[in-house]
Amino acid sequence: MPDAGGYEKFKVGIDVGGTFTDFFLTVNGGAPQIHKVLSTPGDPSVAVMQGLKDLAAMQQPAMTATEFAGRIETIVHGTTVTTNATLTRQGAKSGLITTAGLRDALEMRRGIREEQYDNRYTNVDPVVPRYLRVGVEGRLDRSGREVVPLNLDQVRAAVELFKAEGVKAIAICFINSFANPDHEKAAADLVRAEYPDAYLTVSSDLLPSIRFYERLSTTALNSYVGPILEHYLDQLQGRLNEVGFGGILLIMQSNGGVMSPEIARQGAAKTLLSGPAAGPGAGLVYAKAQDQTSCIVVDMGGTSFEAALVIDGPVMVNHGEIDRLRIALPMLGIHTIGAGGGSIGRIDQGGLLRVGPQSAASDPGPACYGKGGALPTTTDANLVLGYLDPEYFAGGKIALDVEASRRAIAEHIAVPLGISVEKAAAGMYRVACNNMAQGVREVTIKRGFDPREFPVVVAGGAGPIHSCLICQELGIPLQIVPRESSILCAVGMLMSDLKHDFVRTFVAWLDKLDYVALNAVVDEMKGEGAQMLKAEHIPPARQEHFVKFDCRYHKQYHEVSFVIPANALAAHDAGAIASAFHSEHNRLYGYSLEELGTGIEIVNVRVQSIGRVKKLTADQSKARSKSARHAKKGDRQIYLPESESFVLSPVYDGSQLQPGNRITGPAMIEEATTAIFVSRDFECAVDTLGSFIIFTRGREDLVKSLRKDAHR
């Protein structure tokens, strides 16, 4: 939209990754621009500013950073500073005030050792050391009734200790505070009065729901990373102000939504698993261009592979983990496994081939990088199999050494198994694909969904080389590879709504529900959401609030989370709520107890408040001719898993392919940041967004444009 001066306004999505910081720039009426710079882990905002400067210079005509920044309307920013601070235990020095007698729960993690047979497997360091975990007198019972009054003198003494020890962040979490926050509020008031500079997290503010360890762990993590995120945002906002940025800055959250920096400062833990969170929403946009409302989004990078399920919107879960520490905040159900281009292949003691989770990362990297790596990686296998062009990796910026790959595979895989290098490489490829297919199973079959019913949106530089075999393994007939697949998260950031999650424990029988009390709780959460969205400049017309219940059958221990049908609360329609619960339970676990008439208990009530933002809309182009001949670069020998042999296959320049063009497998399509392998049993058509639609031969019916052709 032109502003008063008649200029086009920019929007920028910025995704800070481990190796690269990705930029996706849009301007109304023009083609989007993609840019990547090397990340600067010491201070990630340095890379952010460098990238913006580069983008300014890339404009026609070139701009100064200040000119450019002045025209940016919105920056959506995904940051992993909290993630990295936790993984490396570089968070703020933190103190915990908790219930007397229970101060070790944080470190005990309920007494789990994840590796049962490995006596060398040690516990993880807690984010608050024991001497800074202070138990104070004061006790509420399971219904929130006071048993012992809070001892404020002990709270004060704790604060004195924290001051003396230079603690920067404080967490408060008392048992049963989900039922009554009074003790926590009183302790918090005292902390604020006595030590206003400390970053404070109160469990009943952040997460007023039952299960002590989960609430405690989440609260402590929030404090641990709070000052880190504050410091980072100070730096970033300072630098942006310096260059005259006056637009809106939004921060990516683990739940796939965005939030203002002010709200992020309060709930820093909400960014802990936000790294891949923008991908699934973006995937859906490309799927929608194919008239699909659901999809599986997979993203394969250098060290990890992420899979997520999207049904109308990304599927949410109510908790997750970082470095074996629990986070009980709603987040996208993204499953991550250690499989990427850098995953190392090896033969175990029993003679079985394994690939990953160990990774050669970027240093020393795969053997073919020639940077000293001697172990065979997935990238090495891909090179031997012909999926990568040694002359055209990363658009020709990195030359690959095929002989180094062959040597590594020969020594570590082929010779020990007594097979050829090609067969060994094919084996690594197959095992890697099988591992990734398992990752897709985690988010589909394990949650009661059939993967064959969903198209797969493929992202990440290495994703589209493997997706055909992954899809064959799972019987999935349709893949979508967006043009922007290598920076899908940065794209997704410009498509994300503002999103805030709330939860209250509200234990009640569904058939004896006090709707007045329940609606009061729901309205309170909605009110909070509306207020936050208002502060983020979202008018009521663009606000939406969804209600979810966590329910269980009588005497069950775990809950099932599901969306309450619209109007069920207003209409006091317990029957509609019950049938939504039965069907979700049945879908997840293969049965329901509907026929037995077992009682249903509500445990938690949740509200998700969404502020709709104006989405990036991808430009559609007109379809051209079917022929792709103009884009053909040449031929090379490529390994086909279907026939287990090498076949001379055409290679196309992806940048030359246009909507409507069709390619029959086997073929390679090369782009500057990715390579796409269309295997023998597949075909590819370019859709009007420019995405590569790869489908099982004979299944034209799945592809929108081809379906239309068929109608004519």
């Binding site: 101060r103 309920r110 060398r120 497997y121 001497y131 293969g590």
Partner: protein, 558 residues
């Protein structure tokens, strides 16, 4: 014979593991008893047509190696009378069951008319009939005072429920959640069945058969390579069991002779003491399971667990010993003979593989409270998982794990969440914290134990204790020190103090009684004076080790 493709074999290995994991998730999320869904006291398994183990998910290792022998037993028992749609229950300890409460569901998997495998789930049920609610009866002398015996019995035949049999079983069990939990176990078997059939449909039966044998061979090679690293010879060790539930001061010795010859290993328990006339007796499967899991902690933890892995391990336990009671002896305590059995094995092998063994682990001492939650007017049963989990023994190069629990669970059994504990029982939790100095001192210290205190919230409460570790603490190795003893004690509202015996049944415990439990730590390894000083100072600061012990035992200056 189909040619074996080593690559496809890796794929099969991954698929089998994913099946048992999925089955496990299904039970965890749908069961009702906290013993299953919080403490995960269950295992899931996948077996071939002959009952050979393809893969297991072993939340509680002591149960894990008791599924396959029963699978073979059931197959022989029914002979040709096994059909698609059959579902078989089993718990009987005199037909290879490990513990009465651990009830298994077995389901044969048919591809068309051909039996291609079995899926099974075994879980610890909240009640199994017998004299005492919850199943632990320290006064029992015979199996009938302990439990309902379930020899192999079909509850579904050709897909049709045998309503009469079903009702007979559940008419003899107190809590209705057991019926629901058995349904959850059956549901998980359905999940496993669907997945196995999907794989066979995709790759073909011949390929499945050829590759499973390849996987057995791979695991066998791995374990053989590990055994070969243990010097040949015969090594003896002992572990002690204190109190049989009946005779004050009674104690029993588990004696093992381990013979290593090349790549095979034999555990011979012939010199072990005779069985008791109480419930402190093992069954062959519970004892053999204990032997296997202890050995597995001394070898590469990455070996896939299947039939091939257990093949080179030979175990001899004569009937009539405390580790293999004869009919109709009481045996509910049998799983908990794992800690002294492990002690015997560790002591035997420590001199020859000093870098692979740990010092002694804290032995289990457990309590189970039952009563009426008056506020809800509902009965409750609680196994005090959070209270029983002590520390593990240290090993060369690694400290023991704090608050991990007995060796037969190895960190697989979780504490009740504190708030869920107070929702599910009328008790009020007062303390659950590490105990300073409870880890046996050493260059590598033992894992810390915990102290648990709560106020009992029901009138006329019944408390059962079972366990050990209150006479002999976890032992140190190579100059490392022992840990501290387990304790359970009750203080009634009138001030009366009661210290239950380690196998005891106390009734009529009044509301307001204070419960206190100490779970000791693990043993230390090596000379405490050699412990890293920086770590030591940090531990003093954190109160894991007191300043006094740091100075006097560890020799920390300043």
């Amino acid at each position: 014979m189909t040619a074996v493709d080593p690559i496809l074999a890796s794929v099969y290995a991954r698929l089998f593991k994913s099946i048992t994991d999925e089955m496990s998730l299904s039970v965890e999320k749908t069961a009702r008893s906290p013993i299953l869904c919080e403490a995960k006291d269950f295992v899931t398994g996948l077996y071939d047509a002959d009952g050979k183990m393809l893969e297991q998910t072993e939340n509680l290792p002591i149960l894990a190696f008791s599924l396959a022998p029963v699978c073979k037993y059931i197959k022989d028992y029914f002979g040709n009378d096994i059909h698609p749609g059959d579902v078989i229950f089993h718990n009987d300890v005199f037909s290879l069951g490990n513990q009465n409460n651990d009830v298994a569901v077995y389901k044969p998997v048919f591809s068309g008319e051909t039996l291609v495998g079995w899926v099974a789930v075994k879980g610890h049920q909240a009640d199994i009939g017998g004299n005492v609610r919850g199943g632990y009866n320290p006064n029992a002398k015979e199996v009938w005072q302990e439990a309902l015996r379930i020899p192999p019995v079909k509850v579904y035949e050709c897909g049709k429920i045998r309503k009469d049999v079903w009702e007979l079983i559940f008419a003899n069990i107190r809590l209705d959640i057991v019926e629901h939990d058995m349904r959850a176990q059956m549901g998980a078997c359905n999940v496993g069945e669907r997945r196995l059939l999907g794989i066979i449909e995709k790759y073909g039966l011949e390929s499945y058969n050829a590759h499973k044998q390849y996987l057995f061979d791979a695991s066998r090679k791995m374990i053989e390579a590990e055994i070969a690293q243990i010097p040949d010879g015969t090594y003896a060790g002992e572990g002690m069991v204190y109190f049989d539930g009946h005779h004050e001061g009674s104690k029993f010795t588990i004696r093992v002779e381990i013979t290593v010859a090349g790549n095979s290993i034999t555990f011979d328990y012939s010199k072990t003491d005779r069985q008791t006339d109480g419930f402190v007796n093992g069954t062959f499967t519970s004892s053999a399971s204990a032997t296997i899991l202890t050995l597995l902690q001394m070898v590469n933890p990455g070996i896939p667990h299947n039939e091939g892995m257990v093949e080179p391990i030979k175990i001899t336990i004569p009937e009539g010993t405390i580790l293999n009671a004869s009919y109709p002896k009481a045996t509910t305590f049998g799983n908990h003979l794992c800690p002294p059995n492990a002690d015997a094995i560790i002591r035997a092998l420590a001199p020859v593989i000093p870098d692979r063994v740990t010092a002694g682990w804290n032995n289990l001492l457990c309590s189970l409270t039952t009563g009426l939650d008056a506020e809800k007017n509902e009965p409750y049963v609680d196994i005090g998982f959070m209270g029983l989990k002590g520390g593990s023994g240290a090993m060369n190069g690694t400290d023991g794990y704090d608050h991990i629990g007995m060796i037969d669970a190895s960190g697989g059994v979780l504490d009740q969440d504190y708030e869920m504990f107070e929702q599910m029982t009328p008790h009020l939790l007062e303390k659950h914290e590490y105990i300073t100095d409870s880890g046996g001192a050493g260059c590598w210290r033992g894992g810390l134990g915990v102290e648990t205190r709560f106020t009992i919230g029901s009138e006329d409460t019944q408390l059962v204790t079972f366990g050990d570790g209150d006479f002999e603490p976890a032992f140190g190795l190579f100059g490392g020190h022992d840990s501290i003893l387990n304790i359970i004690e009750l203080t009634y509202p009138d001030g009366t103090k009661i210290v239950p015996k380690n196998k005891d049944l106390i009734t009529g415990v009044p509301k307001g009684t204070r419960y206190r439990q100490i779970a000791g730590g693990g043993g230390g390894y090596g000379d405490p004076k050699k412990r890293d000083r920086e770590i030591l100072r940090r531990e003093v600061r954190n109160g894991m080790i007191s300043a006094k012990v740091a100075c006097e035992v560890y020799g920390l200056e300043g």
